[in-house]
Symmetry: C2
Subunit: 251 residues, 2 copies
DNA sequence: CGCGTTTTTGAAGCCCCTCAAGTGTAGTGG
DNA sequence: CCACTACACTTGAGGGGCTTCAAAAACGCG
């Protein structure tokens, strides 16, 4: 079974054995990091593209008051900006949330990998577009969704992303985020996250327990999150069913 | 004087006459659009990369309840995703906010333009990284800054971006956004935006009047926005002065 | 001048925050 | 096996920032 990096990219474009071998070679010397370790900090000069093979990491910024805002989760298979080497310095931090296995692909190697074959090129481009789509989706959540909707939306996003790399079963997946981390991602307080989760648990919508997400009622969760919202306002209706939770990127 | 597209890209990498000619040719047949016109909608298949030469546009999503969230402003010189053609359909809308002059570069042409010369490649890559940086910056604002900070931060971002394409003077720039638009970008209500602006006006911090932004006290505005925040938490302090407002991307 | 859009202001209410304390739960060492 | 510690989770009470609702004033444009 190929690693999560390969599995993620295959979801964006069909990759031949040669392509897969290139990807595996590029991530051939991963390193292990403990939880809460910064891989790279604001102001550092980036030299390589990080690829998370195991565990969870995140992008985040710290504000003067000490508040933290997480801007993205990096789950198995996820990687940093493919062209990050053309920046003089990082404008945010990337740190592990759990114990991680991380490979660092030097920028020069990455540049070659992207154009190695047309399939790989397209896979990387799509991955990049999906990442941006998720960023926009987060902005929409923070701007126009209340706390319950944000939590529901994030949980669905995570569940689908985990499923896309083969790390989710029908109703559950690993979800090692603490309530503090969820709060820092959604722009809320841990206290309020706790109340939302209690409500979801009592209403049998979803449950977060000992690092595992269990979706009790996918219908209710999608309903709360208005997860299918984008489709409602299209000029041309798409009658295809099941697209709401089948997307590569979260709505 | 070259168009805003050229001016923006030159800010990211030095471009020779040949490069400039390629860019001017690519945007040679712009079209005019009235304000409040959708250039492309959610669900549409993208075929070209839009380049805003004059006027303002924005990316936005509409939620089931009818609420709008703007996820990015496209000012003169700004353009859409350079690889958007590898997506089957748009997941958000792009619409004009004012009368606009917009060029559409077909995806195939764009693919060639990006790799035409190393300088152009780097300019496009950096522009893309800055766009993502701005997206992350918006997430930070929505998550961890209060209303006054968000307004101040957005105004500074816009002012600097306008200055980068030569469209700002020492203290002012055109800013044709209504308070409703600002509210839809910051995840607030127009009523509250109005109160924030009144407060800034009364405290002689900044003023928004008849489509023009006037920064009365850049010091106060930077202070309110905590615009320099990122630098405070670097591992290695950078003693260089004046970087706070000299960045290509807003903090 | 007349009309639509934008801006402005007030009053009341709710969502989420802040502060504070208490309850698990896992790991460690005696 | 049980203290002890550290961390995460849980719950309550009170307050504040922003929203909602409503209406009037000002602006821009034919």
């Amino acid at each position: 079974m190929p690693n999560a990096f390969v599995r993620k990219l295959i979801a964006y474009a069909p990759l031949g054995d040669g392509d897969v071998r290139l990807l595996v070679e590029a991530t051939g010397s991963p390193r292990r990091f403990a939880a809460h370790h910064d891989l790279i900090c604001e102001g550092d000069q980036p030299r390589a593209v990080f690829v998370v093979l195991e565990g969870w990491a995140c992008r985040y910024k710290i504000l003067p008051g000490g508040a933290r805002q997480i801007t993205a989760f990096l789950m198995p298979g996820d990687f940093g900006d493919i062209h990050v080497g053309s920046l003089e310095e990082m404008d945010h931090n990337i740190g592990t949330l759990t114990d991680c296995e991380v490979a660092a692909i030097p920028q020069g190697h990455m540049d070659a990998l992207i154009v190695a074959t047309p399939d790989l090129t397209r896979a990387f481009w799509r991955a990049q577009l999906v990442d941006q789509s998720v960023l926009r989706s987060w902005i929409v959540s923070m701007g126009r969704r209340d706390a319950a909707q944000r939590v529901a939306h994030l949980m669905l996003e995570i569940y689908i992303r985990m499923r896309n790399v083969g790390l989710a079963s029908a109703e559950t997946c690993q979800m090692p985020l603490t309530q503090v981390v969820i709060a820092d991602a959604l722009g809320l307080t841990p206290v309020h996250i706790n109340r939302i989760l209690r409500d979801f648990r009592e209403r049998s919508v979803m449950e977060l327990r000992s690092g595992k997400l269990t979706i009790t009622s996918i219908r209710d969760l999608v309903g709360v999150a208005e997860f299918d919202d984008g489709y409602l306002h299209r000029r041309i209706a798409q009658p295809s069913a099941g697209t709401a939770t089948g997307l590569g990127a979260a709505g």
